[in-house]
């Protein structure tokens, strides 16, 4: 009877999910309630978790709770620490949740709400969650080895090297693109710039508190920090209202670029306890609070989705970024559906802290489902705006014009009605001088979040406070990724450089720290600067590049996972990782090809460079713009080379893996699985 009831409940959940998915897919005309999005996502996640992840756990991975995990065998109270599964879920989610699932869906909303929402849900259930779960399992069975180590051991030495290079490439491009998102959110905004600038002294204060006054008392320090940050969000309004102070904090994109580069260098070179760690604590608490509040706000307000299911821009002519729905929707969504970077977390700290193998399903698969839900909420927030406002905020001036009147005329001509007064009124309501041409996703997401929050608490009176709270949350979040990533990049350079010149490998040697920090900051700083001066707004070039790099790393992880499953003798079920891998290879290769060779100047790097060179040769560029044009031509060619290198890396890895798979399948080579030997757990069931 109980079993029958369970079956009926799950059938009801599946039916509700199917109805919700059909509603959002088939609805046309009038706005649709966001409740359908929440229902479609949650029901799909529940069914995916209950059926698909259970199938993977039981049939393919055969999770074994009698087997001691690395946390039990190597418990040292430092890295290897057995941790409660709910606590570890929180750790893992805090580590994988970055700005990607917020920014990616916001940008992909230019295709309409439907393609992005479907990919967020389907991609997570069948690809992203599977990748995180399987890699976590593989790392647990190998004493917490990293993805690079597993690629080297299980695929080939070259495979290990490629994954290291892929990590470095993704790091550089990721840091540049997230920094660009901050620049576009802060430029000409004294309120937002002041708020974010103040988080630096607050973090320093917390750093000293945690290091000297109350070592390791993270929670009390974080509460003090969060209170101070909330205060500076409000105080930002006074700064914006004061003519003298507003002038100090009103910065151009270029000034902000150099400020962020200087900040990144400081965060990398200064002791970690002083700036990086306290900022991370602040960010973790605010991130958890903001994501929870957004979910609660959407459930309470149930906003109407005004964006159509599909826009005219599925043909590739989108103003936010150029490119057709295939492959660019999948490249753009990135982390909300599948992220290669997650495989670094799944093969980093988490496998060293897991208590039982059985917890890998809840932590690996479950945390990614939650990340996907964050992406769906970002999509809802972006699509709840009127489409005209969305396009005005996210399109560069070179496409829609730099004044409210010009933008309104251009966007209205596309079939998305917008008046100049709407944009000036909205900018005024959120306490900004303008909201036009703020590509990058952060400002439009902040407007969407602020509208949802203010409908819950405070009404229009608090719209400006909520907007700046949302901007601060996004920027704080992004700066944490920026400084943590810069520091890791510095370590990678020191490690690699140390092979060529030993002193560079000394992690605590100041000249080595300064030199390697300068190299990593210079690398992402160059791409950031390039994005800021790009006439098409930077996001058009850099976000797809980031998407390609990220999906490339996911393909690397799935190649490793497929090889390991093959060696485990699970040939029958190999499609579980092989199909998402093949899909990722297809989309990264197609996107790479189009970004390099497309004849459309808004898509193809080389076509755009050629067009600019032709203008230069024909003397159609004014003398003042010659140097800038030459620099743009060089940057576009550099982007083409970077894309080609990324594509070549995945092809080389694929060839290596195919050779390995052929040898296993044809029995030329006996498969050697490099798992740590079985040790029975000493813990009683339920520990």
């Amino acid at each position: 009877m109980k079993r029958l009831l369970q079956i009926l409940v799950w059938m009801a959940v599946a039916a509700l999910g199917a109805v919700a998915l059909s509603t959002i897919a088939l609805h046309r005309g009038e706005p649709i309630s966001a409740t359908w999005f929440v229902l479609a996502a949650v029901c799909s996640y529940l069914v995916g978790y209950r059926l698909y992840s259970a199938f993977i756990a039981a049939k393919i991975l055969a999770l074994d709770n009698t087997r001691a995990t690395p946390a039990e065998r190597r418990d040292d109270g430092r890295d290897f620490v057995p941790t409660n599964k709910w606590v570890l879920f929180g750790h893992h989610f805090a580590a994988i949740a970055g700005p990607g699932p917020l920014v990616g869906p916001t940008l992909a909303a230019q295709f309409g709400y439907l393609p992005g929402t479907l990919w967020l849900i389907v991609g997570a259930v069948f690809a992203g969650c599977v990748q995180d779960f399987v890699i976590l399992f593989c790392s647990i069975r190998r004493d917490g080895k990293t993805l690079g180590e597993m690629a080297r051991d299980e695929v080939s030495k070259r495979g290990g090297f490629i994954s290291q290079l892929a990590v470095f490439a993704i790091m550089v491009i990721l840091l540049a693109v997230v920094a660009l998102v901050i620049v576009n959110a802060l430029k000409s905004s004294p309120w937002a710039t002041f708020t974010l600038a103040m988080t630096i002294p607050i973090a320093l204060l917390l750093g000293v508190y945690l290091r000297y006054l109350r070592p390791g008392r993270v929670m009390e320090a974080s509460f003090i920090g969060v209170a101070l940050v909330l205060f500076v969000v409000v105080a930002g309004q006074w700064v914006a209202d004061s003519a003298a102070w507003a002038k100090v904090f009103t910065m151009s994109g270029i000034t902000l670029t150099f400020a962020i580069i200087a900040y990144g260098f400081a965060a990398s070179a200064l002791p970690v306890w002083l700036l990086l760690a306290p900022r991370d604590y602040l960010s973790a608490f605010i991130k958890a609070g903001a994501i929870f509040s957004l979910a609660a706000g959407i459930l309470l307000v149930r906003p109407q989705i005004r964006m159509p299911p599909l826009t005219r821009f599925i043909d590739g002519s989108g103003p936010v970024f150029a490119g057709k729905i295939f492959p660019f929707c999948f490249i753009t969504i990135a982390c909300g559906a599948i992220s290669g970077f997650h495989s670094l977390i799944s093969s980093g700290t988490t496998p060293k802290m897991i208590q039982r193998e059985g917890h890998a399903r809840f932590i690996g698969y479950g945390a990614m489902l939650l990340e996907s839900f964050v992406g769906v909420m970002a999509m809802v927030a972006a699509c709840a705006m009127t489409p005209g406002v969305y396009f005005a905020i996210n399109s560069p001036a070179s496409i829609v014009g730099a004044t409210p009147a010009a933008a309104a005329a251009t966007i209205s001509s596309w079939g998305y009605p917008l008046s100049a007064e709407t944009m000036t009124g909205l900018a005024h309501a959120v306490g900004e001088q303008t909201l036009l041409n703020r590509a990058g996703g952060a400002p439009s997401l902040a407007v969407g979040m602020a509208q949802i929050f203010s409908s819950t608490i405070g009404g229009d009176r608090l719209l400006s406070i909520w907007y700046h709270f949302a901007i601060m949350f996004e920027a704080l979040f992004i700066l944490t990724v920026l400084d943590a990533g810069t520091r890791v990049g510095r370590f990678m350079i020191q490690e690699l450089g140390g092979r060529a010149w030993k002193p560079l490998g000394r992690m605590n040697w100041m000249p080595s720290i300064l030199l390697s920090s300068a190299i990593i900051v210079g690398a992402w700083g160059y791409f950031l600067y390039q994005g800021v001066v790009d006439p098409l707004g930077g996001i058009n070039s850099l976000w797809p590049l980031f998407g390609i790099a990220n999906q490339l790393l996911a393909a690397v992880a799935l190649v490793v996972a497929t090889t390991i499953l093959m060696k485990m003798g699970k040939l029958k079920w190999i499609w579980v990782t092989l199909l998402p891998m093949a899909w990722l290879v297809i989309i990264t290769m197609t996107a790479s090809y189009q970004k390099i060779f497309s004849a459309n100047v808004r898509i193809g790097f080389l076509a755009q460079a050629t067009a600019l060179a032709a203008q230069l040769a024909a003397g159609r560029v004014t003398a003042a713009k010659v140097v800038e044009t030459q620099r743009n031509i060089f940057n576009l060619r550099l982007d083409a080379v970077v894309t080609a290198v990324l594509a070549a890396m995945i092809l080389v890895l694929l060839v290596e893996a195919l050779a390995q798979w052929y040898a296993i399948l044809s029995r030329v080579r006996k498969p050697v699985l490099r798992e740590t030997p079985y040790v029975a757990t000493q813990w009683a069931e339920g520990d």
Partner: protein, 65 residues
Amino acid sequence: MRALWLNFQDALRGLWKGLRQWSGDAAYETYLACAARKRGAKPVSAAEFYVEQLNRKYSRPNRCC
């Protein structure tokens, strides 16, 4: 009613314990407990442990995009 109150107290205690573990507040206590079990070298101080732990944590990818 009393049983309900006790359950509620237990749940709150569990939540607080989980929050301390998640935030890192309990890391030094966990380390000391482990050191006591192993009876190896003398444990480092709270301040030393804090800095050492941060240096390890932020030398590898620990925040995603």
